[in-house]
């Protein structure tokens, strides 16, 4: 019954439906954050202030077999004294459904600016961490991890 209808399809209709099919298969991709979303999340947190590279070191496994739980270790080069300490560290993702992974708030009482946790990663990507010092300066570090099995995609 379907073939009958197709016989009457002209080229224009066929192209339109093919375009629709492509649009449908492409939609799930838009559910994921892109670089612009990461930049928007960064602006929401820190405004348009200058972010310098350095002082922040991320440690992630080079290859993560399972994106549901990837160990992440962040350390910021700071003496953590009452005059010079890290106020907060934001972790950002360019490919997860939400660009913000989490924010850590530190204080001089912590003594050491180093935090570890486990995160979810939906695919191979470069995770970014931005640290805000008590003087207002911003520093960023990045690390890329290849994810074999992504979170969110599989149940």
């Amino acid at each position: 019954m379907k073939t009958n209808r197709n016989l009457h399809l002209d080229r224009r209709q066929l192209l339109a439906s093919a375009g629709g099919a492509i649009a449908i298969t492409a939609t799930p991709l838009t559910a994921f954050a892109a670089q612009e979303d990461l930049e928007r999340a960064r602006t929401d947190l820190f405004g348009n202030r200058v972010i310098q590279d350095g002082r922040v070191t991320l440690k992630l496994p080079p290859i993560a077999e399972n994106g549901f739980s990837v160990p992440l270790d962040i350390s910021v080069d700071s003496p953590m004294t009452p005059d010079d300490y890290v106020q907060r560290v934001a972790i950002l993702s360019p490919r997860n459904p939400l660009p913000l992974i989490g924010v850590f708030h530190l204080s001089p009482h912590a003594g050491l600016a180093r935090v570890s946790t486990r995160i979810r990663m939906s695919g191979t990507q470069e995770i970014e961490a931005v640290a805000e010092m008590n003087d207002g300066s911003l520093w960023a570090g990045r690390m890329e991890t290849v994810v074999t099995l992504a979170a969110c995609v599989v149940l």
């Binding site: 739980s69 992974i101 989490g102 850590f104 009482h109 050491l112 180093r114 946790t117 979810r120 969110c152």
Partner: protein, 106 residues
């Protein structure tokens, strides 16, 4: 009932920086997964963690769905006085779980 596990050293020298681990059992349901009938499983996550010691909030964290299930945090604390270290988790609905450990500064 949430199961909490803490790793805090029993003793510390004055001004020593000690490592603290805090884990809470929680699914951290991201809200992006689908059930067997294709329905979206609603989000249910812990959004806030706080660690207080000697009258100060030493460390706090804001969680998003991208924090893995059973969130574990490793952070540091400068031990100054003997006393309790309080840990508190809050979920998106305002439910709270807390636990306490103590450190002796010698």
């Amino acid at each position: 009932m949430a199961n909490i596990r803490l790793a805090v050293p029993d003793t510390a020298r004055p001004d020593e920086v000690i490592e603290i681990k805090a884990l809470i059992q929680h699914d951290m349901e991201s809200g992006f997964r689908r059930g067997s009938r294709g329905e979206v499983i609603p989000r249910d996550i812990i959004t806030r963690f706080e660690c207080r010691y000697a009258g100060n909030t030493v460390f706090a964290a804001d969680f998003q769905p991208a924090i893995a299930a059973n969130p574990i945090l490793t952070f540091h604390l400068r031990a100054t006085v003997s006393g309790p270290i309080a840990f508190e988790w809050t979920d998106q609905n305002g439910n709270q779980w807390s636990d306490e450990a103590s450190v002796e500064v010698t």
